[in-house]
Symmetry: D2
Subunit: 342 residues, 4 copies
């Protein structure tokens, strides 16, 4: 069987991870084209990785015949447009999360994908992490009974660049970070979120105020099943990446997450000391690789089991509601009306 030709649009932080994975670590696929609007970036990436074709305008990439499928890692605000164009070109789509920054854009992307009838997988890579996957399995097997409460902590160790933090670019704190947790909430609890209430604030990085973002939020969730939840996101966990999730059920609980990068304990007069997760790829590198492998498998005919474009919309919707709840000081009920934005 010949190799599946992949084109990658967007070569920033996430794009550089996907292109490296696609250069030899994804069986059955090869990277055949890259595109990025930043002058010179696509050319440099192509040279470095030995990719035959490169473009500044992604629409040219979509016209290359041996681009069999497309990975999209452009800024979130452009996702809807790029998805629409890729779908119109008949190419299966893998798109980094979040799907989009408004429900209007989400629905535009969905419409294009439905019309074209192409697969569209969203980059909620935690579903492919061995830890989260094991937890899902344990829950599905009934090991904890009925899920009752969902708890998630998602903490990053540093302030993002201000131009990225702008809500119109990244969606702001909640859309940018908590969509991962909202996808886990829906996936692990097996139920939709019906109400959110957010407390938040700019508590450490005052500069974020200047672009309309903030650095900490604690979001209460209510599920259709009656279950409860809470998600905390923070930008100031100076000690490292701290990603933990737990589900309490009627017969037990499951907890996912680690605070250690290497299994080394140093014992001195100051006590016991271990390292922390200072590089997100140490924690989730395998999951980022696995999600692309699954995408390639799906395009080549395996049944799709990953997060869909509808999962992408749901996570964005919860994030928009949670952001609005923070701004308004009131609980919000879901679903939101169709055109909701931040």
């Amino acid at each position: 069987m010949s190799l599946l030709g992949i084109g990658c649009i967007g070569l920033g932080r996430m794009g550089s991870i996907f292109t490296r994975h696609l250069s030899g670590r994804v069986p059955g696929a090869k990277l055949v084209a890259v595109a990025d609007s930043a002058p010179g970036l696509a050319e440099r990436t192509a040279a470095e990785l030995g990719v035959p074709r490169w473009f500044e305008d992604y629409r040219e990439l979509l016209a290359v015949p041996d681009v069999d499928a497309v990975v999209i890692a452009t800024p979130a605000s452009t996702h809807a447009d790029v998805i629409a164009a890729t779908a119109a070109a008949g190419r299966p789509i893998f798109c980094e999360k979040p799907l989009a920054l408004t429900l209007l854009e989400c629905d535009r992307a969905i419409q294009a994908v439905e019309r074209a009838g192409v697969p569209c997988q969203i980059g909620f890579m935690r579903r492919f992490d061995a830890g989260y996957a094991r937890a899902k399995r344990l829950i599905d097997e009934g090991r904890i009974g009925d899920p009752v409460t969902f708890k998630a902590v998602g903490r990053d160790p540093m302030m993002p660049r201000l131009d990225y933090a702008r809500p119109e670019v990244s969606g702001g704190l909640i859309v940018d970070m908590a969509t991962h947790d909202f996808d886990m909430a829906r996936w692990l609890m097996g139920s939709q979120v019906t109400r959110v209430f957010t407390e938040g604030g700019t508590l450490v990085f005052d500069d974020l105020n200047s672009v309309g973002d903030f650095d900490n939020a604690i979001i209460n969730l209510k599920f259709a099943s009656g279950a409860l939840g809470n998600v905390e996101v923070s930008r100031n966990a100076v000690y490292g990446y701290d990603i933990r999730t737990e589900v309490l059920g009627s017969q037990g609980a499951v907890m996912i997450g680690t605070l250690r990068q290497t299994p080394v304990l140093l014992l001195t007069r100051e006590g016991g000391q271990h390292d922390v997760v200072t590089y997100i790829m140490e924690r989730f590198g395998d999951a980022y690789l696995a999600e692309i492998r699954q995408f390639v498998d799906v395009v080549r005919g395996m049944p799709a089991t990953g997060p869909t474009i509808y999962d992408g919309r749901s996570a964005t919707e919860i994030a928009l509601a949670a952001t609005r709840s923070y701004r308004g000081g009131w609980p919000l009920t879901l679903p939101l009306e169709g055109g909701a934005s931040i």
Copy 2:
């Protein structure tokens, strides 16, 4: 120096712990009288522990001259009355949490204590736990910078008896369980709570509905400092007592709690297995002892550093607001008006 004579009023679950501690484990004190309105209970307790005086009516205990100080472990709904009578009798008071079930009662108790000028310590024993105390010290030393978010989980492994679960007896889920967490919130964060919002429900033990109680709640907190918080309480952690607290600061975080009773790991084909905390006294037995020791020290002249009657009122106030928020579906702002009840 002669021994301080202690009278203990209320000989139920908590009372039996305090009386046992006072029978030989508290330097400088001796248990000289016990009282409980349940027929025969005081007499049996006195016989078992060798206590010289016992009563069914606690007012008789207050009249005994060698009762130098009083420990109150009666049902919460009676605390205000017993405190008022004890204060009127001029005796220093240690009262198990929660202080009372309404703000009216809290204020009546406060008034009586202020008028009598006696010390009044509330049984928030976590302040005396070596773990929480170490965390408090680390925060006060600035090791995590400014506190930014507070998280607490307080899970019990079983449904309470229905007659105890009634809100008019125990205060219901939040007053009964989360007052410990609210006291930790105020103590560790060094700030007052100004807003609460609760999601909750009866998700496992349907019988609780019949007495107006529920089994799970997730409570968002906002502090006067701008900091954020979340407290989860649950009655259905079938795996054991799960009491965990964490504070994220601008320069680090501190986490308190353990899920293991003994340091034993069993490794078999099924994986690694450890026990859990199935008896709350395994986790907090030393703290229950330490709080009584401190109370005795204070009565004998040491400066008071434990939780005061005002701390007791604040925890009750937050719990009342959180319970109302659950019933109403809206955030509530603190302080509540004076006469607030559940």
Copy 3:
């Protein structure tokens, strides 16, 4: 039932722990007399704890009629004499480990106890620790199949006083520290030790050489069952008390031990940090109490299940052989000839 009157002989470090436990924490018993040859020590202890009788000569204590049973915590080199006198006085005996420093002394003590027909329990308190007890239960239940290897680490955080370290006083490093581990080896493995080989040295505290002691030893064990073992003892774990044991079986393994005193984790830019066990009573305080409670129960008629004087002899025998192996550089086969000393 009247209280059992206990006399305590030896009021040093261990004696002060036992006397405090016997002052109110041991149901059914009361401390009625104390003795120590150090001028003034018995008198001070008696005054502090309210003990009615005190002596410098322990033989006077043995003549007090209401001394129903005796706890011996004198230096190990005197154990045989004190046991013999106590047995001759017809009193049940609890003796701190090690039983004695030579096999001759061990056998003299055994003879006296057998002749008098009194119970004699040795202070191997780990058998009463909740962790070790749980491990023993798991092994006895067959959870790990047949025991195959035994591993123990016993590390102390500081150099002992030189006058204590002398082999003729404490028995030296191996007798002083590893007898606990040898008792665990025999108890958990359910088999006798038949061969030992020791590597050791004075690697950190050179002063120990001046009294003939050393600070580190690693001891290989062979059991009658064919199983293997290794015990490491060290005096220079500056980070705290580090007591760990593990048994590998044909169907699994069990590990006992903790490196943390409080369940607190501090997370900063330097990583995660927890405390260590800096006070042995934080780890084994409950076990020291439980062994005395069991002794009292046995004297009052409960069946004896704790370590016997024969267990005491076996641990000393292994320790003597291991010490000789270190000095000789050769493996030693057990049993040793009758009169063996260090």
Copy 4:
């Protein structure tokens, strides 16, 4: 710069890992030829991985001009011959551990390598594991003072195939498994091993007796520095791969190892449960990749820092001495005479 052409000799368990790594995950290198004497295996591997050249006779591989360097993963008993031929062909060598099964073979390989002047790296991949590397760094920085004791546990979850277990094929239990630990001992302690004493036995898998192997060993070590050590290897850790190492120093200790594969904790009425390391590649996969990357870097001109052929000889020598000590029941002093074998 053109890619370094790698030939891989030996395509069994380890060879299949190396060839997969060399197919796209090692920057600067490409796999250009494979060889294995098993009929059809090289051909199948070449087809699967797209390798242009394949051979049954490795000497043909050595004659291919674009084979710039060679990875050897043949049975240990053939290492010396293959190394000698590869060195004679002037190719840089990476050879899986153990270097050889006799000192005579070790010395023959060393002579060939020295004569040819080619680099020769031995596959002690733990040196490239993030955990062990961090521990080495902490020790080198003086964080634990002077190393005093070394402890290692290396347990495998299953009996090897009998034809592999034969001492003349794999070297037997100690050579096969403990050479990793002996390399860590020398590397982390910074000192040579001067004496060994082994207790061992066939305690679980009786079939091993039929080929002259055994399943458990506990090996005492003495270092030239005076430091002490102990290594336990076992084939019957049915719960998974259990690889742990610790070094106690004069100022602290460092511990390396993990018993968990995913960071998931399941809590039920049976307690807390986590998985274990059931696939060695989950624990050391990155290290196996890193050692090959380093080898390629060295061939391309970077300074060599990995384990040398002399390190390979030292580990084999300790293993031979330890195996003999087990058979003889006596301590053995190192260095062994030149021609030592098992």
